[in-house]
Each structure stands twice: as structure tokens, then as C-alpha cells.
């Protein structure tokens, strides 16, 4: 496979053709913030947290879907990028109802971690406080729409790893929401196999194991990783 040499934040990095900037950065130990990216499922470039600057390109490019090219100069840490990331996080916190103090994911949440990493100590936008419901009709799992960031990770694992196609996005704009089947209570779903992959994939406290209380929701990504590795590399993690 042809090798491509590029620099990320001034550091020379070599990558394989076809790799994304995000892959290359990860291999080189450089952290680029992500939210909608999940190893093993296709990328959608939706959260925009992974935007980077590339010399010679006037637009910002999402690292998760941008392929490396020879001689590419990537910057991941400019003041401008930091400002944008922080603001994107502020928008997310203001969008729905994040009350970390009473959240199952408190202390283990990717959104909360991102806020810490990006220095977001408060939200300057007016909180929207939309009325959202909690679906606890499923025997094992719950879905709290108040904490959903619409990253669609649950949808993609459900379609492309489990193959159940139970989860989907309905509505548009601020009214977009995750649905089960044709917008039914999760517990009524005839397609859900109760595999729990969507719960493992969720970055926030939106999807949880029933019975977990504040700060108790632990996720085990190794199960997803197991399947993805088996599929892509034909290796079985033991």
C-alpha cells in the first residue's frame, strides 16, 4: 500500500493511502476531538468537532472523512479551531437538557469530557429547555432524549453492525430525534434484537442500561470492537 507523508501540527506523520486524517493522527498519538465518529462504522462528518486546517485549503476539513494526501500540512490546534469547538459544545449543551448532576453518565460522558478538554466552563447561549421524553419501555434499556446529541452512532451500529435497522432519525432541524422503528416505544419494537450495541455506542447518557443510577452507566466498547475487528481484519480478539 502506498505510503503518504504529511505533517500534523508540524509533526511528520506517515500514513497509508486511503487513511483519514483522523486515523493518521490517532496512529501518531495526536488527539483530535470527535463525537460522531465511532471506530467500525461509516463516518458521517456531522458533529464538526474534528474540523482541522489544511494549508492551501480555505475551508476547514473534517478529519474523520478527509483522506490523507502527500505533503499535506494539517493543523489541529489553532485558536480559531479551539474557539469553534468550544462554541459547538456550547450549542450542544444549550440544545437539550443536560443536568450532569443527575445523569447516569456523569463523569464518564464523552460530551462532558469534551467540554472539559475544550475549556468550556459555561454556555453563553440561552438554554432552550425543550420538553423531551424518556423511553423506558424496553426491558433492558432506556433512552433519554434530553441528553441525545443526535450523533447517529446508535443508528449506524444498529444498521451496519447489528443489521437490525431498528433505530433511525426522524424529523428535521431542531426537531430531529432518534426513533425506534416507525416511531414506536422501544419496548414495542419487533425488530430490536436487544443486542445492546446502540447502548454501547452512545457517547452520552442518552442510552443507558435500566437500573443504572447517577454516574453508574459504564459502557463496554470491547463488544463492538470485537465484531468490527472480526469483520474488517478477520481476527478474533480473545
Amino acid at each position: 500500500m502506498p505510503v503518504r507523508t504529511l505533517t500534523i501540527d508540524g509533526k511528520p506523520v506517515s500514513a497509508v493511502e486511503g487513511q483519514t486524517v483522523l486515523d493518521a493522527a490517532q496512529d501518531a498519538g495526536i488527539t483530535i476531538p470527535t463525537l460522531c465518529h465511532l471506530d467500525g462504522v461509516s463516518d458521517v462528518g456531522a458533529c464538526r468537532l474534528c474540523l482541522v486546517e489544511v494549508t492551501g485549503v480555505s475551508r476547514l476539513l473534517p478529519a474523520c472523512v478527509t483522506k490523507v494526501t502527500e505533503g499535506m500540512e494539517v493543523r489541529t490546534e489553532s485558536e480559531r479551531l479551539k474557539r469553534y469547538r468550544r462554541m459547538i459544545l456550547e450549542l450542544l449543551f444549550a440544545e437539550r437538557n443536560h443536568v450532569c448532576a443527575v445523569c447516569v453518565s456523569n463523569g464518564r460522558c464523552e460530551l462532558q469530557n469534551l467540554a472539559v478538554a475544550q475549556g468550556m466552563d459555561h454556555v453563553r447561549f440561552a438554554y432552550r429547555f425543550p420538553p423531551y421524553e424518556v423511553d423506558i419501555t424496553h426491558r433492558m434499556f432506556g433512552m433519554d432524549h434530553n441528553r441525545c446529541v443526535l450523533c447517529s452512532r446508535c443508528v449506524r451500529v444498529c444498521w451496519f453492525i447489528e443489521g437490525a435497522a431498528t433505530k433511525n432519525v426522524a424529523g428535521r432541524g431542531a426537531g430531529a430525534r432518534i426513533i425506534t422503528d416507525l416511531s414506536q416505544p422501544w419496548g414495542k419494537s419487533e425488530t430490536c434484537t436487544s443486542c445492546g450495541k446502540c447502548v454501547q455506542a452512545c457517547p452520552t447518557g442518552a442510552k443507558f442500561h435500566k437500573g443504572s443510577t447517577v454516574a453508574e452507566m459504564e459502557r463496554d466498547r470491547s463488544r463492538l470492537e470485537f465484531i468490527v475487528t472480526a469483520r474488517e481484519k478477520k481476527q478474533w480478539i480473545v
Partner: protein, 180 residues
């Protein structure tokens, strides 16, 4: 040495942030040497004084009294610190906001669940009316510094106060800004 005038205020919050403040334990004694506590729930003073250097404000703006107070405090304070998640985000206090008005909350608390004489308390001047929407402090007045946490751990409070007193700035970073 001139001590900084220091205040703490308790608005729409559970007082947990103040409890955490008390968890500073013996450092409180050191603090007492560095600041002069001019106003606080733990100090017997009726009116918020002029020219306060630093004020920690716990709780969200939840009722009309909070609203008036926070404006007065802003005008009389040089460094205003949102103290705890309720002040910074609205947090638990603001969990009624998706209901849009205060009415359903009062209904539930004082009518639906009351055993004796169900009635919504109304006493102007004594019981301040609730605002329809609970607001974080900085949505009402400009805030200079944010001290999140529910409650903020004592050492986080200490870090901020030490920095402020030492003139090293008033903004926290890293794990010290984690909500929850």
C-alpha cells in the same frame, strides 16, 4: 494588609455549594486572614454592601427576589463568581423549565400532593413569586468567573480563591471545570 471584601450568596440552589465551602475545613481559618466576609448566609447582615471585591453566588435565578438581588449584587461587586452548577447552568433548579411556566410545579407541590389545606402560598413581600423560567446567573448579568460542580469540590473552590487572592486570575481549567 488590606483584606479583600468577600461575600457569598445563596439563590435558587440547595445550599450544597455552601456545604462544600464549609468542607474547606481548616483552610477557612487561613481564608479568614485573607478576606473579610461582608455578606453571606452564615453572616448576620441584612443588606448586600457596596464595593464587594469577590462574591460567590450559589444557585440559579428562580424567583423575583433572586432577580432583583442578582442585579444589585452585580452593581456592587467587582468579581462575580457563578458558584456551582445551578448558578452556571441552571442545573437541577432549572429542571422545571421544560414545563414552560411555574404553574405546574406549584400545582404539583401545593395542591396535588398536599394532605392538609391544599393552597398555593401567596404572600407578596414574604414569599417571592417564582419566575416562569429559571435562569443561570450569566443570562441575567455579566459574570466574571465560573466555578462549576454539583457541588464544586472543596479543593476546586480553594484553587479559585487562592488564584483570585494571589492575583493569578479567576478562571479555572482542566478537571476543575467539569460539570456534575
Amino acid at each position: 494588609m488590606d483584606r479583600l471584601t468577600f461575600a457569598t450568596v445563596w439563590l435558587g440552589g440547595c445550599s450544597g455549594c455552601h456545604m462544600s465551602f464549609l468542607d474547606l475545613d481548616e483552610w477557612l481559618v487561613d481564608l479568614a486572614d485573607m478576606v473579610e466576609v461582608v455578606y453571606s448566609p452564615i453572616v448576620d447582615r441584612k443588606e448586600y454592601p457596596e464595593n464587594v471585591a469577590v462574591c460567590l453566588i450559589e444557585g440559579a435565578v428562580a424567583n423575583e427576589d433572586n432577580l432583583e438581588q442578582v442585579k444589585l449584587i452585580r452593581a456592587r461587586t467587582r468579581l462575580l463568581v457563578s458558584f456551582g452548577d445551578c448558578a452556571v447552568t441552571g442545573n437541577v433548579t432549572a429542571m422545571r423549565n421544560p414545563l414552560r411556566t411555574a404553574e405546574p410545579v406549584l400545582q404539583r407541590a401545593y395542591l396535588d400532593t398536599a394532605n392538609l389545606r391544599p393552597r398555593i402560598p401567596q404572600a407578596r413581600g414574604i414569599v417571592p413569586p417564582l419566575l416562569d423560567q429559571v435562569l443561570p446567573v450569566h443570562e441575567v448579568v455579566p459574570v466574571d468567573s465560573f466555578l462549576p460542580g454539583c457541588p464544586p469540590p472543596a479543593d476546586r473552590i480553594r484553587t479559585l480563591l487562592q488564584d483570585v487572592i494571589a492575583g493569578k486570575g479567576s478562571l479555572l481549567s482542566g478537571e476543575n471545570i467539569r460539570f456534575g
